[in-house]
């Protein structure tokens, strides 16, 4: 394992990672997150970045305490030690959620940030640095570091060799590479791979909504899809309508979404180009697809007549959807595998899905949430209780 250590840039924190552990949800960690949230809200430039504001909203005191209360069990837990995070590049501040996974579980963290030059990342770092200077957070600043290095397996190897846990976000290849690395025998790994998400809609319930409810639904769905350009693993690509849907209300739904997108979404030539490329690709590959005739600029809908086993390859981008009319919910059994992550729904309820999932034992789908809540980060991710994984139980009798 030879590499030039100067290739690692320490953006925040020190080279001599100390490993300090604590109980999950320790007071100082909660205070730190609260301070972080307040400072992001306070900063005049934060407003420019929707993702940053959403993050600040998520890590505000009230929400973290709510999350904490959901997690409390009677066990006495402690963190594992140092956690190494390899974080996704396409969501600018996703690395913070990964970091918080490690932090709230009671660990020290080394977080590899993939795009440290983004404006919102720089802003966030300036805020974190400021907070780290406060006396009561001194230890946090010694135990946590944010680093950058160009993709380099030797460096990843190096970090993997001494840490107590790894959280790796990436595609199959990245995860495969990390699985091959030598780690401590007790090292705990969490791999978050490519995921596919879908939505289930009832047109009959859609028809019953009043004006305000309807526009709220549009806004919620917009947030699920467009804040991340439909590029988050939680963004729905396949929209499923129930059997014999009411065609006219469906058109009204999409038309309203189109208008909302037009008023709120900032597109660009490169987004349009990429979307057009993806669209071309699907239309060329298949002989029986139909793009809806509606002359929409933003929303492109491709109707599919049969659920394909490879449906997971049908990914939209920036408002490109695949639509399917489902005859029976059991059809899902044909396509669902472990790569399915979020099912967002409108017009159904919790009990409906509890029944269906208990009866049918689908092989995938880890989250079922109402439309509008797909982007909400949770400490249960991809079906895994992150805090439980990144901490250990000390049983005392």
């Amino acid at each position: 394992m030879t590499f030039d250590k100067s290739k690692i840039q320490y953006l925040i924190g020190s080279k001599n990672n100390k490993s300090d552990i604590s109980e999950p949800f320790s007071d100082v960690n909660l205070e730190f997150l609260n301070e972080l949230s307040l400072n992001i809200f306070k900063h005049k430039n934060s407003k420019k970045y929707k993702d940053l504001i959403a993050f600040a909203f998520w890590c505000r005191k009230k929400n973290i305490i709510k999350i904490k209360n959901n997690f409390l069990d009677k066990q006495f837990r402690l963190g594992l030690g140092i956690i190494f995070h390899l974080t996704p590049s396409n969501v600018p501040i996703a690395f913070m959620y990964s970091f918080i996974f490690g932090l709230l579980s009671g660990n020290s963290n080394i977080v590899r940030v993939s795009k440290p030059d983004l404006e919102q990342v720089k802003l966030l770092f300036s805020i974190i640095k400021k907070i780290f200077r406060i006396r009561k957070f001194e230890k946090l600043s010694q135990n946590n570091s944010f680093i950058y290095y160009d993709k380099d397996t030797n460096i990843s190897d190096y970090f993997s060799s001494f840490v107590d846990g790894r959280v790796v976000w990436g595609n199959d290849k990245t995860i495969g590479d990390f699985k091959k690395m030598t780690t401590k025998s007790k090292c705990v790994d969490l791999f978050f791979g490519d995921k596919y998400s879908i939505s289930l809609f009832s047109s009959k319930k859609l028809k019953k909504l009043n004006k305000i409810e309807f526009s709220n639904l549009i806004k919620n769905f917009y947030n699920d899809v467009f804040i991340m350009d439909q590029n988050a693993c939680t963004s729905p690509h396949l929209i499923i309508w129930e059997k014999k849907p009411l065609k006219s209300i469906i058109e009204i739904f999409w038309n309203n979404l189109e208008k909302f997108v037009q008023d709120n979404y900032l597109t660009s030539l490169s987004i349009t180009s990429k979307k057009y490329q993806i669209l071309n690709n699907y239309l060329m590959e298949n002989s029986d697809l139909r793009i809806n005739k509606m002359n929409n600029k933003y929303i492109k809908r491709i109707k599919i007549n049969k659920l394909d086993k490879n449906i997971i390859n049908y990914r939209g981008f920036s408002g490109l959807f695949f639509e399917y009319e489902m005859k029976d919910i059991l059809e899902l059994n044909e396509i669902i595998n472990r790569n399915f992550q979020t099912l967002s729904y409108f017009g159904y309820d919790k009990i409906f899905f509890e029944k269906i999932f208990k009866r049918n034992k689908f092989k995938g789908i880890d989250r079922i949430v109402p439309v509008g809540e797909t982007l909400e980060m949770s400490l249960i991710w991809d079906g895994i209780n992150v805090v439980n994984h990144l901490s250990r139980i000390v049983s005392i009798k």
Binding site: P92, N171, A232, L269, T272, N280, M284, S287, R290
Partner: protein, 356 residues
């Protein structure tokens, strides 16, 4: 007689775009119909978009293919056994290469069109040709990159081909001086990619080592300014440096894509814009893919060419950004569109978490 042959086998003024509008549209439409008939993927695209090609009346309405489709798929409208050669893009940023399938007719037509476009600059006679690239001797005859394709394409205007860059990527002064001594008293042809010309003729060449200057040279260069932007070199500086250093004053910049080899756009000496000619057209499209009618407003470039017959490349949306310039510009006699290239469309920050 095939419509395309009206362009290729008649004496024709390539600048006279205005008189060819209808023929241009009909020729392209015929090509598209033929691709729909002979290329399954293209047929799928047209059918899935629910387009009725025959109902279209203007070039703006014609469907366009995203340029990366030539990377994603093998697209051809001919029988496999008739594939004569495959052109590849040089692919700098993307790993996948474009694959352009040519039959002998398409390849021939490219040459004829290129000849007609370039002849007005070089004349009918072949000129001694100085090439600022390495000799592409060892290449697979069936598969070669855009660079080699361009060199070979332009080589039809030359003779006494002289490659001046040696295997160590340096100027071979012996070879260069030998050429200059023999030919530089009369008109001669210089070819190279914009970045290579910058590197060798502007940055590296040592005037003390050359036998004489290039005042009789005619330089053709293309390939984009991307590498030069870092050094803040634009077209004007580029030209003035060549003139200052080498007395090279005839410098012609062209814009072309491997997907439409042959029907290149030439930059006008008078207005410094690229002009369309009878073989091609340009449409600028906005974020909603609608054509931009105003001058000077930037958008994505769609290029059209009558030439592609063995692959569906007649109408392509590129990943380049550009804009149309006021058409009644100064003294140029061109009746086509005038446009400028800005560069690659700027990459937007992608929001999402699909890969690392």
């Amino acid at each position: 007689m095939k419509l395309i042959n009206k362009y290729l086998y008649k004496k024709i003024n390539i600048k006279n775009v205005a008189n060819h509008k209808q023929l241009f549209f009909k020729t392209i439409l015929n090509q598209l119909l033929s691709h729909k008939k002979n290329c399954l993927e293209y047929k799928n695209l047209i059918n899935n978009f629910d387009l009725k090609l025959k109902r279209f009346k203007t070039v703006e309405e014609l469907p366009f293919l995203h340029v990366n489709m030539f990377k994603e798929k093998d697209l051809y409208s001919i029988k496999k056994k008739n594939i004569y050669k495959i052109l590849n893009s040089s692919g700098t940023t993307n790993k996948k290469l474009s694959k352009i399938f040519l039959d002998s007719i398409n390849a021939k037509n490219q040459i004829i069109a290129l000849k007609k476009i370039v002849a007005s600059f070089l004349g009918e006679e072949r000129l001694p040709m100085l090439i600022f690239e390495k000799n592409p001797n060892l290449i697979d005859k069936k598969k070669f990159g855009a660079k080699v394709a361009a060199i070979l394409g332009f080589s039809i205007f030359g003779k006494n081909y002289t490659y001046v860059i040696n295997s160590k990527n340096e100027i071979d002064y012996k070879v260069l001086n030998n050429f200059l001594e023999k030919f530089a008293d009369n008109k001669f042809f210089i070819f190279g990619f914009t970045s290579s010309i910058y590197e060798f003729l502007i940055k590296k060449i040592d005037n003390r080592k050359i036998f004489r200057l290039f005042e009789n040279g005619i330089l053709f260069h293309g390939g984009g300014w991307k590498k030069l932007e870092k050094n803040k070199i634009n077209n004007e500086i580029f030209k003035s440096k060549l003139n200052y250093k080498l007395k090279l004053s005839t410098v012609v910049n062209y814009y072309g894509v491997v997907e439409q080899t042959g029907s290149i756009f030439i930059e006008c000496e008078k207005c410094n814009c690229f002009h369309t000619n009878i073989f091609n057209d340009v449409i600028i499209r906005d974020e909603n893919l609608n054509p931009i009618k105003q001058n000077n407003k930037r958008g994505m470039i769609q290029v059209l060419s009558i030439l592609p017959s063995s692959y569906p490349g007649n109408s392509i949306l590129l990943e380049d950004e550009g804009f149309i310039v006021n058409q009644k510009n100064e003294k140029c006699d061109n009746t086509g569109k005038s446009f400028k290239i800005v560069g690659r469309i700027p990459k937007a920050e992608v929001r999402g978490c699909s890969d690392v």
